[in-house]
């Protein structure tokens, strides 16, 4: 976990210093796509179980500011607030004896502060890299194993993400982009139906398409 944050801190500064010229100003945007939650290990007093998920939805509302060329003391790039929600159904649980059916879902609601660096090619394609930090509430909703209730609880944790993508200017004000982001949190802790603790992991691969309106 510590190494992940070290990489985030180092590359945050690199990202801010990696951008070409653009007009300064606010923007709003929408993003949507698929969220693929990584297989996660849940640990309790009896040992560890690996949970698997189906792909689910992932959507965000963006409010940001493009630094353009007008803030040389800070650097170039964009800074934005992202309000995000995502949901994935559980598909199975792996025990020592093998894989078994599991029900329920994992939900995510988060607010992220993202820094984005962009490079515009001669043909006008925008290549961007993104880093973000924020706060996420992770919910395990009605999770059951073979029909037996297991956990129904939520927990808030520090969140982080990193991503890459490409965009196109549709007009002077509208930009369309597609991209990939890796999203993770510090390990959440839940209370199971029997009152005991469950240590969990959460990480997601986000495949997104977005539309941004520059003011």
């Amino acid at each position: 976990m510590r190494k992940k944050f070290q990489y985030l801190l180092v590359t945050t500064f690199l990202v801010l210093g990696f951008s070409t010229s653009a007009a300064a100003g606010f923007y709003i945007g929408l993003q949507g796509g698929a969220g693929i939650v990584s297989d996660a290990t849940g640990s309790d007093a009896d040992g560890s179980v690996n949970f698997t998920y189906d792909a689910g939805y992932d959507g965000s509302i963006l409010l940001g500011y493009n630094l353009g060329e007008e803030h040389p003391s800070i650097g170039k790039g964009r800074v934005e607030l992202e309000f995000n929600t995502a949901s994935n159904d559980l598909s199975g649980a792996e025990f020592v004896e093998g894989n078994f059916g599991a029900g329920g879902s994992v939900e995510r609601t988060s607010i992220m502060v993202n820094t984005i660096g962009e490079y515009t090619t001669q043909s006008g394609i925008i290549i961007y890299a993104l880093l973000g930090l924020g706060w996420a509430e992770i919910s395990l909703d009605n999770v059951s194993v073979l029909g037996e209730p297991f956990v129904d609880d939520n927990n808030s944790q520090l969140a982080y993400q990193a991503g890459l993508g490409i965009g196109w200017k549709l007009s002077d004000h509208f930009i369309f982009d597609i991209g990939y982001r890796y999203y993770g949190t510090t390990d959440p802790e839940f209370t199971k139906q029997d009152g005991t603790n469950l240590d969990y992991e959460y990480a997601s691969h986000r495949i997104l398409a977005g539309l941004r309106l520059d003011f």
């Binding site: 009896d46 040992g47 004896e97 078994f100």
Partner: protein
Amino acid sequence: MQLRIILLSCLLLVLSGCWTDEPTRSNTFIPLTSIEVSATYQSMANNTVNQYTAMGDFSGSFTRDITAEVTWAIENNTIADVSNAAGSEGLVTALSPGETTITANYDDLSGSELVVVTAAVLAGIEIIPQDAELQVGITEQYEAAGTFSDGSSQDVTILATWESSDMNVATIDNAGLATTLASGSTTITGAWQGIESNASLLVTDATLTAVTITPETATIAQGTTVQFEAEGTFSDDTPQDITDIVDWQSTDNGIGIIDTNGLAEGIAPGQADITASYDVGGNIISDTAVLTVSDAILESIIVTPENSTIQVGENLQYRATGTFSDNSEQDITELATWLTTNNSVGTFRTPDSRGLFSSDASGATIIKASFGGISGETLLTVVE
């Protein structure tokens, strides 16, 4: 250059979250569907003990020893008593001659077996080993085998009183575990119900110089077991089986675990080192073997001997050989659940030696061995 650093950082972040370790939790969500109760001895002499075992079948997916998880009860507690105390669950003590039933209960499920207490009295005791020669600093588990007036035999080790005539040479505890202290000779005595037997113990001044594990490498399928053994070499070049007294460790319990007797179980695919070590006055003597756990899946079971015929009263030891998806074969006799379709012909009554069939009457039955949802079977005919 900056782009490469950002791309590399993103890749490392992604890769760091891509894999999970193998699970270590048993599935307690699959319902227990049946309990099979068995005992070390078919009958027991009065005042002796007999260990009963409960094997749980979890919806046919897997079986597990649940002796310590069930609640034991005796129908007639004037004939026998059963322990539910930690460490001695299922241990029955005979109180008076007769027959009663023992039941293992788990929630709404139960399994039962007969408890037969005979009026046989102790006729003699044999101490095992009789004439032992051990090195200093070694422990040896003595056993007391009792023979009874009806010709039956039973282990009375934990019932006997143990003594060492020269406690400067060796001591022995209430469970028959002897520890050698110095070179010399002593006499080990085991006594019960007024009958005693002796065995000689010679302790040499040779010290342990090396430990050798066999096999050096072992490959097993996930969920199966392999027995490792440790042989000690001493300063007088004498060998000694020290499997039960060395300290067994696995370098990765997520891949393979090993118990105090050297029995290793494959938990998840991978490789782990198995070490056996012994402390000789602060100097650790050890050896290492490699345990490889494959992801092979059991595909079939062959039960042998096939289509056998025995006489009434005879026993027959069956073996179960599992064939796995990687074309490997493993003896899974000790892991399988053994069943017979016609209990009037005979049953499997000995948990410590699984697969041992004892015949009671003439007839035909199907012998079935099951493990991990896979079964194998064969026909057995019992004749007069």
